[in-house]
Each structure stands twice: as C-alpha cells, then as structure tokens.
Amino acid sequence: MQKRYLSVAIAGISLLSAAGYAAMHGPRQMDSGAAAPGLPAATDARHVLSTTPRHIEWIAAPLGSKRILAFVVSPERSDRAPVVMVTAHNEGASDWARAVADRVAEAGFIAVVPDELTGEGPSGGDTDSFRDAGGVQAALARLGPQEISLRVLAVRRFALASPASNGIGAQLDLRRKEGLVAVAGTASDNFALSDEGFAAALNFIRKATNDHPVFSAQTVQNEHAMHLALLAKAVNKQGEIGQPGQPGGDTSYYQKRPDLPADFYTAKATVARSKLRKEFVDIPVGDVKVHTWIEYPAVAGKVGTVIVMQHGAGMDDWVRGVADQLAQSGFLAVAPDVWSGTGPGGGGLDSFQFVDDAMKASAKVTSDETMRRFEAARDYALKLPQANGKTASLGFCAGGGNSFRFAGEVPELNGAVVFYGAPPEDSVMEKIHSPVIGFYGENDVRVTAAVEPTVAKMRKLGKAYEPHVYPKTTHSFVLFQEVGGNPAAVKDAWPRAIAFLKKQLASN
C-alpha cells in the first residue's frame, strides 16, 4: 500500500499559501445541472489524488480518548456545504475511496473518508500501514461493525461541526463486491457502481440535501477551517482532565499520546518506559567525543535515519522523547549532544548542575562546529546496519535553524524538517538540494517573520520549501503543547512531519 501522506504534502496547506491558491484558481461558475464527475478507476487513484486542484487534508476526530483520522476534500464553493461521508466497504481509507472523495468534492460536497483503521495497523499505523488488502479486511473484521460505525459517526459528528459545513450529512458507501453505490441519509437508495450510477447517486444526494452550491474559488472554508474546528474541540476538552480551567486537550500534556511526541512534562517517563532499543554512543569529532543518543525502530529491514537537532535547552529528556517518537514511527533516530565538551570535566549537558549554565556555555560551540558534529553523527548513522542510506534532519528552535542550514551544508541530505527555526544566509540556502518543510507559530514573531521572505528566496532559487504557520501558536509548540493554539498546531504539524519523512526517506 502506498503511503497515505504522499498527497498531503502537495496540498501546501498553510496560511501563506492561501492567497496564492486563490489566485491560481479564479472564480468559475457551474450550475448544478452540469455533467457530474465520473467514477475514478482504482488504478487512477494516486494520479487523481496527486493532481486534484481541491484543498485536501487529514483531520483527527476525537472519540473518547482516541482520535480517528479522516481524509477531507473541500469543494470549491463560496457557501457552506453538506458533508458526504465516503466509505469503501472492507477497504478502510484506501486510495480509491479517497480518489472517489475527490470526485464527490468536485460535485460540491465536503467529502470525508474516515479511516476506521486508525491505530489498528502494524505498530499502531492506519489503513496505509497494512501490506495488502487481506490485512485490511482482517483488521476490519477484528474491529467489528459496531466499533466501525462508532468511528465513522465520530468523524461525521466532527465534520458536521466544522465551519464549512451546513450541518447536513449523507453517506456514500462503495460496495465493490456487490457493484453498488449505497447512499444513506435523509433518503436512501442504491445505485450501480458505474459512471452513470455514481452520477445518479450524487444527484440523489444533492436533491436529498436540498443543495444548491455556489461554485467559486472564494471558498467559505478558509485554509484552516478544519484546524480551527480542531482548536475549538481542544478548548472544549479543557477541564475534562483534572479540574476546570486546566489546559491540555488531547495532547501529550497529562498523558503521552501515541501519535504525538511527549511534551515537557511527559518526556522523562516516555523515554524511561520506551521498549525500543536505545543507547548513548560517543562519536569522535576532533578532540571531543560527541555524546549521541540513538534509538532504533522495532521494524525488520533497513530504514531511513533522522538526525534530531536539539532545542535551546540542549539534548535533554524532551529531545530524547522526540527521538523515541521518531523511532516509534519507524526511523533510526540519532540525537547528538552538540554541547559535548563544554561542561565541567569536558562533559556535555548532563555534566551541568543547572541548564541555564549549559545554555550560556554553549556559546563556545560555533555554528561551523555544530554542523561538523551533526555531519559526524550522520556519517556514523549511515554505517549502522539498519540504515537504508537515506537521511533527514529535524530540529526545534535553534535546532530548527540548524536543520535548515544542514540541508545546505550536506547536499546528500534527503529532507529537512524545521520546527520554528531561522533560515540560513543566502549563500547556504543556495546549496540546498533536499526539500524543506517548516512549522511555525503565528505568535512567534521573531522567527515567523522570516517565513515570507524565505518563501520568496527559496522559490527564486528553485528549491522546495513548504511552510505551515499556525494561528495563536507560540514558539516551542511541540514542547508546550497545552497552551493557546499549540494543541491544534502540534496535532496538525507532527503528522505532516512524519509523512514528509516517510516520503523522503523511503528505501529505493
């Protein structure tokens, strides 16, 4: 099965891209009697998903303590739209189901494909993590019809509450085996699984929902509409845990979430309790031995390597928690203590009594030396038996800046993930080969102000740069997940980072 996130990166969903997106797709008129879109073939699914002009995204709907992922395609219309749940019987959120959803959105509906198999795949993966259709069917059978419908309903409820929805819903169930398209909602009927049947099903839904779409690129759903719904959910959830007024939502604040890295409070326990193989190694760089944390994924075969670049407080429990999360997601995670050798007795961060003393001493390590140390860690990792030869960097804060710079200094790098870090100077940016994805908080004025000029520079240089800026979000939003817009930001950004890494580090 292909990686589900391949298509997400193409969407370029960010505040910054909103204006450009609208400019590219000018207003157009289409009356509801226009020819309905045809049913895509399964073999065309990937092509459909990678070329759709429509806004696509993954959302996560809460269900108890769980989150159910769903793929959403938004219609290009300026009024609120009905929500059509698109399910493919016995297939989970397959590429085909998602491609059909794109056609449903083309017809003017918000098309939502719930992934009933969220977290049910090998190592807690989703539909796309199964090797074959047999695995998907077995997992769906294990889950049972009741749980499946609970999950679909949770996504439906969530989607109906989104700002772009008009509150009216319908379901379109694709039954490949029976050759049927089953429509359910205020009215129900079955149609043949063919272009004609599909068109008739869409017309049926339009009548049943009494829908008169106003097609336009000036979409009612701004680029972050679903995210804002997510934020609202997080706010509503405040107080559910512990006492009223306590923040956290469904982030890793009180309790580490399986699909998010640990936060400031949950990191120490996460690392201590992780069952993955992990070790400190000392990698010589000049006179210094760079104390480096390595975590190995519990998967057979060769995997990509992620160099984890420490934040402003050094390579602490929290950074190791991020490494653990990356290893849980199937990557070799390598986190050097760049401050090695700056401490008492030639130690690193761990040799300081107070972290602020370590921060001050870190000024001794120049930017060039920092790069040398990360390069040494990368060279070391590439020789590990499990390494597939692909490498990426990922860092936060100062480490985010280092990750961006690393892409320029190491042309062989396959990708760079930048969490709220500054771009390098032009002479380094010119040397970048790999794509760069960046995540920023709108309230992180100093760092985020650089995003727009960086977009222009990278575009001029012909480099791939995909920034995401989150509203009401602070600098260290992965470290402090519970405040302001940070819960919604981390829940959107982290899956995107993982999807990017999976794509860039896939074995040849």
């Binding site: 505040l15 909103a18 701004n222 972050h224 706010v235 405040q238 107080g239 845990i241 512990g242 006492q243 009223p244 007024g245 306590q246 923040p247 604040y253 009180y254 309790q255 580490k256 400031f264 409070y265 949950t266 120490k268 326990a269 201590a272 402003g312 407080a313 009594q353 107070f354 972290v355 602020d356 003393d357 921060m359 001050k360 908080g441 709108e442 309230n443 992180d444 004025v445 100093r446 985020t448 102000a449 727009e452 800026v469 509203p471 009401k472 979000t473 602070t474 600098h475 260290s476 402090f480 519970e482 405040v483 302001g484 817009g485 940070n486």
Partner: protein
C-alpha cells in the same frame, strides 16, 4: 482590549505581527532572569540555588500527617505581610518555588505548601514522584475541598510566623489561581487574592468572597477569557472588588513560558500589577 485578538482572523493577525517589531518589556529570555520577575522554566533551579534570602522547608503538622512547605522571607528583620503561594497543576516544582523567591524579593513572606505532601510513592511528597507527569495526574485527582483544607493549614501557620504582620493573601497560577479565588470565598480574613489564569468558583461561593480579587489572563486562553465577563458582572452586582487585566497574544501559563509568543510582555506587566495590588491590600 478583551476579545480584540480573538476576533481577528489568523491571517490578519499574522500579518500584523510580521510587520510590527515585538514591543519592549519582555521576560528574562531563555537563559536569563529578569530581576523584577519570577524565574522562567529554565532558570528557576539556579535562581533558587543562588538566592540569598532566608528560606527553609517546614513540615507543618496536619492531622496525622505533615504538610511539606517551602517558606522564604524578605530581607531584613521587619514584620511583613504573608502570601500563600498556590502551586499549579504540575506541583510544587522549582518554577513555583521561584515564584515564592520573587515574592520574598518583593517584600513578602512567601509560604508555598506542597499539596502532594504524603501522597507520593511510599508516603513521599512532590519530589518522590519519579516522573513529572505522575505528579500531574496525582494532583488532577485531588478534590478542591482537600486542597482548601491543606492550604488553610499553611495559611494559619504562615500568619503565626514570628515575622508575620498578621495580614495574609493568596497567589496562584493555573489551578493554583482557581484555588486562590476559591480560598477568598472560604477564608473571610483573607486580605487579597491574586488569580493568574484560574477559574472562578461557583456563584454561591463568589457571594462569600470578601477580599479583593485580581485576575490576570492571556487573551489566547479562550476558556479562561470566557469566564471574565460573567465573573465581573456577578462580582459587581454583589458589591465585590474584582479587577482584571488581559494580555494580547499571551497564553495560559504565561508566567511559566515567558519566552513564548508575547508571554514575556504579559509577565512583565502582570507581575508588578500583582505585587502592587498585594502591597495595597496588605498595607
């Protein structure tokens, strides 16, 4: 000012921030302590270790157990008003004790009880929990009434300290702020309550409040912001004193995360507002 930020679309807000340089008046930065503000997350441990003020751990008798309490005194010998420091949901960590250190620096006797006293592994205190999130979850289970009981023990003790001038107030952040507001309803002798981003108690409890209350909130903290107007209206109708300030672009826990977003500016404005309020209320 309330709601101004909330009402703007994300894009407009971002553009506004991108064009305007951050205003002056910030926290101490990542590795620095602003002498006029409590230490942030990363400098609290060293701030406590290096304080020159008189300080001690006291185990205050409480029923059959003990309330482990950090006390810090202002410089000099003169009698001083007492501020009960009510820690946040993560427990009496260095960051919360650093608030006590700053209060003592600003002239108050700071009394900071550990609500998890005796509730840790093997009957230990906050510091006996192996991981920070274990303490978080243990505290989340504590009923407000039990927190009140424990704080009253510390309050009574604090008022009888040799240097106490007989006036006492409360100050708390997050759930500590919630406790601070509630304490004002339960303890009629209280002189003042400072609520950093905490919830108000219910209307029946608010009716019993006698002390003036000061609320300090970040505007990017919607669930707390939403409490302000109804609280202000109710307090006014009941003839109570409730002042509040809201800070644009600031989040929940802005005192803890001073380096994040506009929290530094919020801290730099809110802390002096709190100490000025406490000084006036306990003249």
């Amino acid at each position: 000012m309330l709601g101004r930020v909330l009402s703007l679309s994300g894009l407009v807000l971002w553009a506004a921030f991108a064009q305007a340089p951050p205003p002056a008046g910030r926290g101490g930065g990542l590795a620095g302590k602003n002498p006029a503000l409590p230490a942030n997350l990363f400098v609290s441990a060293s701030t406590l270790a290096h304080t020159r003020l008189q300080h001690e751990w006291v185990d205050i008798p409480m029923g059959s157990g003990k309330l482990h309490t950090w006390i810090e005194y202002p410089a000099g010998e003169a009698p001083a008003p007492m501020v009960l420091v009510m820690h946040y949901d993560a427990g009496l960590d260095d960051l919360q004790r650093a608030i006590a250190d700053q209060l003592a620096t600003d002239g108050f006797i700071a009394v900071a009880p550990d609500l998890l006293s005796g509730l840790g592994p093997n009957g230990g205190n906050f510091d006996s929990f192996p991981y920070p999130d274990d303490a978080l979850r243990a505290l989340a289970k504590m009923a407000p009434a039990e927190a009140m009981r424990r704080f009253k023990v510390a309050y009574d003790y604090g008022l009888k300290l040799a240097r106490a001038n007989g006036k006492g107030a409360t100050l708390g952040c997050g759930v500590g702020g919630t406790h601070s507001f509630r304490f004002a309803a339960e303890v009629p002798s209280l002189s003042a309550a400072v609520v950093f981003y905490g919830m108000p108690p219910d209307a029946a409890a608010i009716a019993k409040v006698r002390a003036p209350v000061l609320g300090l909130y970040g505007e990017d903290d919607p669930s707390l912001i939403a409490t302000i107007e109804p609280t202000a209206a109710l307090m006014k109708r009941l003839g109570k004193s409730y002042q509040y300030h809201t800070y644009p672009g600031a989040t929940h826990f802005f005192m803890s995360y001073q380096v994040e977003g506009r929290n530094g500016e919020a801290s730099a404005e809110a802390w002096p507002a709190a100490t000025t309020f406490l000084k006036q209320a306990m003249k």
